[in-house]
Symmetry: C2
Subunit: 564 residues, 2 copies
């Protein structure tokens, strides 16, 4: 045996380590045994999820919080299919994560057998790649040990370039343990994306359009953070001096108390944003997909005369939006280029009247009713949570009322970050997202909000929080469960309810006992007059805490589109 | 408005009701709101899962226990992707289930937009059909309201015909609420499968092969039950008078104390089955896929001279096995035809010497060590559980030691049934499978075994058990967690352990607190001398019970292939 040779599994672990991925989310299993062993040997710190579904969600939050790539290792068959819910989240929310699944020996895979409609072959074997293909930027079975470098490099490049997203490699047991010479492997050559030479003309055209506008707004999405362009963006805002709106995943890019920053617009955005957007004649978008939740299903959030100028790296989103004008380019190239040109033209941007109108509209349509009453108004609680949260905190929401309200009231004044399920508004994400963020930033305060309905979906991961003693404060909104769903059952279907305590037992868990059973300390907030005192006390506690927050079960959501 | 017109959603609920599907597993959601409402209006009893992942698992067990089709309704986006883990189980284990997912309005789906690589469009929208296609027998988006009858009929036919399996229909919100005239819909015409005319010659050939054999065995799989051919099978066994072996999913077809019944063979089967199979010169299989877990990876469970004759409806399994002789036919046609012919030839089947050898082999290689000691030997516990279980009980196992041991020691003497994850041996299935069986057979005893590792994966569904007050006794084997995994970490990797209490907290939940937190009564079995008394007491309790069983954490598995 050549001593230069190492196992493919070790090559994989080395690769991750070299990419500075020193933490991984996994659930061990027979089909991934060499990978599991290599991860341990390489000293990559592994965090065990209690169900593989949550592992990619954790990795997604890890990626967002750390700016690195998130990594996941699962076993074959059910290990791989269990991970799909989290994969779907990472895909729609553009998180760069790499999922590696173990697989049975190659010759016992349906992939290798190539028999049509053969459902499974080896023990706990499922041909996972065709299933995950529509949810990944790149996916492949590692058939040949010597292809490992090429496939890892291609996967990594695909996850991180352009619009980020998840990738998946499936590695059979015999390939995992095959010996390879790491110096004799084919590498992957990244295709050079054509530069931005041609874009100077386009940038000039864009600037012309802006100059012609009397009421422009700038919409900023997650792409700006992912391209590391926040500082340049700030400079651009100073030059353009126009109102700035955020998409849901862009919310935390700049503090909302900074000049020109108006926060989140869209279906569940604020009324003042709605009123401003309706008057705008030009919407410039940087790295936002301009979702239907933002523009409305028929672009009803903007006026018919409003011109959309979209700058994005993802051509499918441009096609979907059919903007008036677009530049398809990575923001890491576009924003510096744009800045270089406009900084010479500072004096031409002057929208004083428009800004005055926007300011006035904001002050006349305040978001929050400072409704300090018992039972607690969720607007009041979420607003206090945001305001009192220490700097560098991570604020995390789950599906339902807390998602919408967090999106409206948080201001991200002290470099706070938000992590949430942006596109899917999926139930049950708070806990895994909090874990991912807590693993990435063990010293920061992770403040995660969930509802008593959403809590149930990944409740098993409470044990992950307590086991790893993560610095997570989990605020569980006890409003009797499924308030959002009961709302449409009452409105659309004249009160034919399905999700009630009687029918499904939704929202009837005893939260104190749940916290206790999963080895978490429990804390109760139920008096509005003590919220500030309670929160200050909670923020001083090190390590995890389960906080039950009893709120009004008739909570109304204020929104730009309608009051619900 | 024509008063004859009804909503598509109501047509779906009517269709299910007409197919005698009067219970459904679901989790409500905005994207499925009209479906949810129609289900309620139609009086279909709905059971809410706490995570959509578990709903198809419940439906699978419901289908197995009731002989009907299992039904699931989930919402769009994360509701649909969450359901994939359960879908995968139903697919590999051949369960006829129909999954209906809600979807956003058609014009806001990526399916309708047809833009390449568009990740999502409407709120919480994912194009689910391409993802689930490889895991279903049939799947489609219901694009046109008037196609609903055709698609439902086609889906139902596909789920139940040939080798059963899951099907999936995705119904956008606007289609759900569209009004249709139910009398003016196109129907689906089932393709007539060619009859068994040509098979008489093949049956005669098979009989010739049997007559020539000196040591034949009959392997019986789940297909026999699914084709309703158990009674005819019993008659055939009386005529052939040869040893009968079961696949894992066929285990409960005939009581193991009946003449000629030898129970489960295969990798984790008994040593005596192994020894008999090695001597056999003819293996006839009825409705078993002859998995690698049964024949071994290189068919090492049988001798080189052994001829395989396979009767199965799934041609891919026949191609995979490459048998000596096969008949591709539905057993509901084959078995009666085969019986009609062989019953006239009774006297020609005489394998006395072979049967004597098999009987002797069995008595010389008993499965169970009646190891009555503390800490409790899992063989002893599982054997007492099987023996003392009331008639018509459902015995359910989860991944790990209890799966293998249940498969070896249970005899199904009093019409007991087994439900388990057959192909995947997936962790965490016990609870949802128990719920599905409990919903199908509310008066029967559901005796489900799980491990303290597997428990965590679907722990949220404990609340489903307590809420619906299902007659489930859940036996949670407390052996310190992940015993199977620690075993290979110790053997293959010289003790480089990953799943230990220190590293991942596996198996460290306080089970009494967990039971309590999910509103279940808790019972402890830890003294081997009280097992019988404990079990008798438990079986008398009506409704759910969480039973912690403390067993040996150094449990060894006996098997035909090797002792582990």
């Amino acid at each position: 045996m050549n001593t230069n040779k190492i196992r493919v599994a070790d090559y994989v672990a080395d690769f991750l380590k070299n990419k500075k991925i020193d933490k991984i989310f996994m659930l061990t299993g027979y089909g991934a045994m060499y990978l599991n062993d290599a991860i341990k040997l390489q000293g990559i710190k592994y965090f065990a999820a209690r169900n593989e579904a949550a592992a990619p969600m954790m990795a997604e939050a890890f990626a967002r919080a750390s700016g690195k790539v998130g990594a996941v290792c699962v076993t074959a068959g059910p290990g791989a299919t269990n991970a799909i819910p989290g994969l779907a989240e990472a895909y729609v929310d553009s998180a760069p994560i790499i999922i590696i699944s173990g697989q049975v020996e190659k010759k016992h895979t349906t992939h290798f057998m190539k028999i049509k409609n053969l459902r499974t072959y080896g023990t706990a074997e499922i041909n996972i790649i065709p299933i995950v293909k529509p949810l990944t930027k790149f996916s492949a079975v590692v058939d040949a040990p010597n292809s490992i470098r090429y496939l890892l490099e291609k996967a990594y490049s695909s996850a991180t370039s352009g619009r980020p997203g998840p990738v998946w490699l499936d590695i059979p047991l015999d390939v995992q343990q095959a010996l390879i010479n790491p110096n004799k492997l084919r590498s992957f050559k990244e295709k050079k994306v054509q530069g931005n030479k041609n874009n100077i003309q386009k940038i000039k055209k864009l600037i012309k359009i802006i100059k012609k506008s009397s009421s422009p707004i700038l919409v900023v999405g997650n792409g700006v953070r992912q391209s590391n362009q926040i500082e340049n963006l700030k400079k651009i805002i100073k030059i353009l001096k126009i109102p700035v709106f955020f998409s849901r995943l862009g919310q935390d890019i700049i503090s909302h108390d900074k000049k020109y920053i108006y926060g989140q617009a869209g279906v569940k955005g604020s009324l003042f944003c709605k009123k401003i957007m309706e008057k705008s004649d030009l919407l410039i978008s940087f790295g936002s997909r301009l979702a239907v939740q933002f523009l409305g299903l028929k672009k009803e959030a903007i006026s018919k005369k409003c011109k959309i100028c979209m700058i994005d790296v993802d051509s499918s989103e441009i096609i979907k939006t059919s903007p008036y004008f677009y530049i398809k380019q990575d923001l890491k190239d576009f924003i510096p280029g744009f800045y270089r040109i406009i900084k010479k033209e500072k004096k031409y941007f002057n929208f004083q009247r428009w800004n005055a109108f926007c300011k006035k509209t904001k002050s006349e349509n305040p978001i929050i009713l400072q409704n300090k009453k018992n039972p607690i108004d969720l607007y009041y609680f979420m607003s206090r949570l945001g305001d009192l949260s220490p700097k560098n905190s991570f604020l995390i929401t789950d599906a339902g009322s807390n998602y919408y309200i967090g999106g409206q009231v948080w201001k991200f004044k002290k470099n706070q970050r938000e992590i949430t399920s942006g596109c899917n508004a999926a139930m049950g994400l708070s806990i895994p997202l909090a874990i991912g963020a807590g693993v990435a930033k063990p010293k920061d305060n992770i403040l995660a909000v969930t509802g008593d309905g959403s809590l149930e979906l990944n409740i098993q991961e409470l044990k992950t929080i307590s086991h790893y003693n993560l610095n997570i404060k989990l605020f569980v909104i006890n409003n009797g469960g499924y308030v959002s769903m009961i709302k449409w059952q009452d409105t659309v279907f004249s009160g034919r309810r399905l999700d009630t305590k009687e029918f499904t037992g939704a929202g009837t868990l005893n939260l104190k006992k749940i916290a206790n059973a999963f080895d978490l300390k429990w804390y109760l907030i139920k008096n509005v007059n003590n919220i500030d005192k309670d929160l200050k006390k909670i923020f001083k506690i090190k390590g995890p805490l389960f906080v039950e927050v009893v709120t009004d079960n008739k909570q109304k959501i204020q929104s730009g589109f309608k009051n619900e």
